[in-house]
Symmetry: C2
Subunit: 374 residues, 2 copies
């Protein structure tokens, strides 16, 4: 028998039964008051998660579609500074290079960014900064507030990929002076993949460039939002899911939700350290460990295939390996979305079991239990 | 009490319970063999619906995303001829103008296209032709085979928007020498909106232009297809739906399915004529009525709001009005996807009832019943 599986990766995340059931209803016409009601609730709910009074545009597509919509729509800049300290930072650079000149500020994956280098780029005439808030490929939380503060000193536009932080960690766009931010559906929001949302402050429109792709030009979304509609046919079942997910987020309370995410990732980190493992990120004074995914160095005693293969086969649990050149060097445990202590603890117990068989870890579950119980 | 609704519009279509239920399962990781199996079945199933041995790339996004992916990826042409005899032809022109010079050949919406004008455009140095096969905004089936034949005389690339024909009407890409074609999920395939697929023959790659948007560059999809993967996180629940939908299509048999769609649209047309109504399209020797949607002139005795409002309120049936300048001038009944005689007949009976109250139609259901029963 094949048991139900548990997804503990940094997205797509485990989907709560309430959200699965929300999708399981007949499609409705998208040019109807029924759809507009859903659209309005989703938009207003997301606005609060982003911490903005600005508009939020929901795109049917992956997080990458959201990144490209944000960058291409607001690309009326001579040069953009793109910060790369992981796979998604690298993706930002590659997308931006299609639309304007890019000053790519690269740091070794897993290393923290140095604000001094960003400032030098801004001094060099860059008019915008794009960065990833929570870099899932390395488990680092980049210093959003500090980057924005620096950018504003030079009146630069600030675009933040919040794909894996919004809805799970603290994001305060308006307070931090972030002009544009992006979230993906299959991360902290807890719904399946297929939607991205871009939050946009009025300020950002000064950088509007009509050279964006037709499908991703946010001006079309802005026009339609007045009637709580989308310019192109939306992925209706995912809007049903988002509607339910937002309801669940406010039932839990955003503050509680953020505390829960922080508690869960802390439990994973402290467990790892006590078990004798090493966390992958190298922090500096500005950066932090991610509160939604933990990246841990793979011990020499075990291969990636042995660890993740056994977990999947024996326990039905999926965790992530490293991406690109980090393959076989790290493993990553996502703790995003609508999961409880049960899912976190069973994952750590299973990982510990598999590692201990190889003599690659010491028992450390008590530490996790204590933190999880808050 | 609010009854379950019936969607009889040219997409999104009514979704069969089997497909709704297929979506209602936990999300799976998209970088897994489980997902690749689904991806392979979907791709191979679609290939047959397109009538091609070429690749099929599945994009998470609406049909418009598919159109832009097709046009932008294969835009290494000095000039493209875009045929516009309806809303979606117009959209093709607007998308193409972002990537190359467009020779827009426009016909009044509802009128048939004239091949002579296409030929003159090709003589004028156009290197590609893009057109809509089944123009849902007007209910016309454009002559795909003849357009392609003409284009090939000038060695031009042929891009066909088959969003509302593939899976419901005859499409034979390879035989007709169509190089690139697009389908949308929420039309004849019978699943909810949120996916588009683009079929591409080897020949098309001679026109590859790396200026496509990052998210829509089909070369990234091509590279990942070798491992039955997508380059960016796919809308997993919609892949579950597509997998089930393709299974259903082959259970019915593609030939039977096409015959059914033709029978259903013929029933609507003959009913309309017998009821004293007038079909909207003006055909010439090359064009045909659409086999998936029927556009009918709105009788003077009734307003669009009265007709569609009463249908929705009393019967829970949604049909479409006209788009753009055709608002209030026509109404449209979609007969796409996994519906039976029951849905078609109940729709016609309801429309007839509402029209007859205004003295705007004569009884004609018997004609429909006869045709539906084949």
């Amino acid at each position: 028998m094949k048991f139900d599986e548990l997804l503990m990766i940094p997205g797509p995340v485990q989907v709560h039964s309430r959200i699965i059931n929300a999708m399981a209803r007949p499609t409705i016409g998208h040019r109807t008051p029924d759809f507009s009601e859903i659209m309005q609730r989703c938009t207003e709910g997301l606005r609060e998660l982003f911490g903005t009074d600005g508009d939020v545009y929901i795109i049917s597509g992956s997080g990458t579609a959201g990144m490209e919509a944000a960058i291409s729509t607001f690309s009326k800049v001579k040069k953009i500074t793109c910060i790369d300290n992981g796979k998604f930072g690298d993706r930002l650079c590659r997308i931006a290079s299609k639309y304007t000149e890019v000053d790519a500020i690269r740091f070794e994956w897993g290393k923290s960014i140095e604000l001094e280098k960003i400032e030098r780029s801004l001094e060099g005439g860059s008019e915008a900064v794009a960065f990833v808030h929570n870099e899932t490929s390395t488990g680092i939380l980049n210093p959003a507030r500090e980057i924005a503060r620096l950018a504003k000193k030079y009146s630069a536009l600030v675009i933040m990929d919040g794909i894996t932080s919004v809805g799970g960690d603290e994001v305060k766009m308006d307070e931090w002076e972030i002009d544009v931010a992006i979230v993906g559906s299959q991360k902290c929001l807890g719904i399946p993949p297929g939607l991205a949302a871009v939050a946009v402050t009025e300020k950002a429109w000064e950088f509007y460039n009509d050279k964006a792709p037709f499908y991703l030009d946010l001006n079309a979304y802005r026009k339609k939002l007045k009637d709580w509609q989308t310019p192109y046919t939306p992925a209706v079942p995912l809007f049903f899911a988002l509607d339910e997910a937002i309801k669940m987020i406010y039932e839990e309370g955003l503050e509680n939700r953020i505390s829960r995410h922080r508690r869960f990732s802390k439990a994973v980190r402290e467990w790892a350290i006590t078990a004798g493992l090493e966390l992958f990120p190298e922090l500096n004074e500005y950066s932090n460990y991610s509160n939604t995914v933990t990246a841990i160095k793979l011990p020499a005693e075990i291969s990636d295939k042995e660890l993740r293969g056994t977990l999947k086969e024996e326990y039905g649990i999926t965790i992530s390996g490293g991406q690109e050149h980090l393959k076989g060097k790290i493993f990553r445990i996502g703790t995003m979305g609508n999961i409880g202590k049960r899912e976190v603890l069973s994952t750590l117990a299973a990982v510990e079991d598999v590692l201990m068989r190889k003599g690659a870890a010491k028992p450390a579950l008590n530490v996790a239990i204590e933190i999880l119980s808050g």
